[in-house]
């Protein structure tokens, strides 16, 4: 199709409601740097943005500003809670160092109030265990956050068109590593575990860590460390024996193709 044949479809494209084959044709024109289509789509996007002006004025809560700044690691974090925002998901607030400190303070208070030595030991052991778990959680979330907020992070989705997902996203940061977020992924059966794989172009899959899914079907897994995004074809997940495997032994449950780096 030539540009003239597409002229009735630029507005629809800008609105996100263009249909095939015109949508694909516009995409092709834009990808090859067609100046006519670029100018027309830009104008349509401008018109589209202006239609937003017909939305009634509304005021967000006064906390939103702080949340946004905190979500990229700036301004005051809420005492005791660490906001973790996952694109496409609702934000999750998880215990941070503040609540760890609070738990420690409660521990001291318990002693002061006369817990017996045995009770104290049991409580302290439990709290230490919880603190270790929380510290591990925070470390994982910090890694996840670093990947999500990295300026060079690439993003890809999986499961979007499957009738029975798992669905989710994979984020790859060249310096920080790979983050996988999934939903509708049932907990692995007894003695089994999920294993993530980074699949280089034209090479064998590389193991990228073991993880378990929650009862809710949600899972998050971080494989920290540098990753060559440009030479990565896909990220996949298989179900393996709980010790993991050097190479996949089952068909992948998740395959997220890595998009080519933007030019």
């Amino acid at each position: 199709m030539n540009c003239d044949e597409l002229r009735d479809h630029y507005d629809l494209y800008a609105l996100g409601i263009a249909e095939e084959p015109e949508r694909g044709e516009i995409r092709v024109h834009l990808n090859r740097g067609c100046e006519v289509c670029m100018a027309q789509v830009k104008r349509s996007l401008g018109t589209s943005a202006m239609i937003g002006a017909s939305a009634p004025a509304a005021e967000p809560s006064s906390q939103l500003r702080s949340r946004i700044l905190a979500s990229v690691g700036f301004e005051n974090r809420r005492a005791g809670w660490l906001p973790v925002w996952l694109p496409g998901w609702l934000p999750i607030w998880l215990p941070g160092w503040g609540s760890v400190a609070a738990i420690a303070a409660l521990c001291v208070l318990a002693v002061y109030l006369g817990f017996t030595g045995q009770q104290y030991a049991q409580t302290a052991a439990r709290l230490r265990s919880e603190m270790r778990e929380q510290a591990a959680q925070i470390a994982g979330l910090t890694e996840a956050f670093a990947i999500l907020s990295g300026p060079n992070t690439a993003e890809t989705s999986f499961g979007g068109v499957q009738p029975k997902p798992p669905q989710g996203k994979v984020f790859l940061n060249p310096a920080r590593g790979v983050l996988l977020i999934a939903s509708n992924l049932p907990p692995a059966p007894a003695s089994k575990i999920y294993e993530m794989w980074i699949i280089p172009k034209g090479a064998k899959p590389v193991p990228a860590g073991l993880f378990q899914s929650q009862a809710s079907g949600r899972a998050m897994h971080v494989q920290p460390g540098a990753v060559d995004v440009a030479s990565t074809a896909a990220v996949a997940v298989t179900l393996e024996n709980e010790a993991g495997a050097d190479q996949p032994t089952t068909q992948p449950l998740i395959v997220a193709a890595v998009p080519p780096a933007p030019r």
Binding site: R7, D8, D11, L12, Y13, A14, L15, G16, I17, A18, E19, R23, R27, L30, M38, Q40, V41, K42, R43, L45, G46, T47, S48, A49, M50, I51, G52, A53, S54, A55, P56, A57, A58, E59, P60, S61, L64, R65, R67, I68, L69, S71, V72, F74, E75, W85, P87, G88, L90, P91, L148, S149, G150, P151, T153, S157, G160, V161, P262
Partner: protein
């Protein structure tokens, strides 16, 4: 209305703001929010009609801008339209996924690519354009206004509009085309010959 207008008008200060965001200046993000937060929120709230979800999506929008601002040309970029496009696309994407409708994430992502927002303000903006758009929307015949709202604020395809409104697809396409033509005429935008 003013925040929307401000969001669409980009001046030299905004270009400096883009540069600061690209340098990861945290105060720049605060300024970005102060400039565009309300506009983005109003737009997203109109789409999802839930304050808590709207705030989550606005947060997502700003984080996406923060992560992708390096794509923006600091000399020629237009932050406002870009940010609003991302906000709208995030909201539509949420609406579609929560309703179990097929997501158009790929297409929506295409339309929030920063390079498409180069030098946009010079082409589309005059100071009272936003008011004119609203007035133009109000003056549209009810059916035309409905299809524009379904398309822009609910992200419905023409086929989905046909089903929702109980009208033939051809009729919907005619209404959409006529509504867009009317808006162009009202806004004084030249229709390509």
């Amino acid at each position: 209305m003013l925040p929307i207008i401000l969001a669409i008008y980009a001046g030299p200060e905004e270009r400096a703001l883009i540069s600061r965001l690209q340098r990861r200046d945290p105060k720049a993000l605060a300024e970005l929010y102060d400039s565009y937060g309300r506009a983005a929120y109003a737009l997203v709230l109109r789409v999802v009609r839930d304050r808590a979800i709207a705030e989550d999506l606005v947060q997502e929008t700003f984080l996406r801008v923060w992560n992708r601002v390096h794509q923006m040309d600091s000399e020629k970029g237009a932050l406002g339209p870009w940010l609003l496009a991302i906000a709208r696309n995030r909201a539509i994407d949420y609406l579609r996924s929560s309703a179990g409708r097929e997501r158009n994430a790929i297409e929506l992502n295409e339309t929030d690519h920063a390079p498409l927002y180069r030098e946009m303000e010079a082409e589309i903006l005059i100071s009272d354009q936003a008011r004119r758009v609203r007035a133009a929307m109000d003056r549209l015949a009810p059916n035309y206004r409905t299809v524009m709202e379904l398309a822009y604020f609910e992200g419905l395809s023409q086929s989905e509009m046909s089903e929702k409104m109980g009208q033939p697809l051809g009729t919907i396409k005619t209404w959409v085309r006529t509504a867009l033509q009317s808006l162009r005429n009202e806004l004084g935008v030249a229709v390509p010959s």
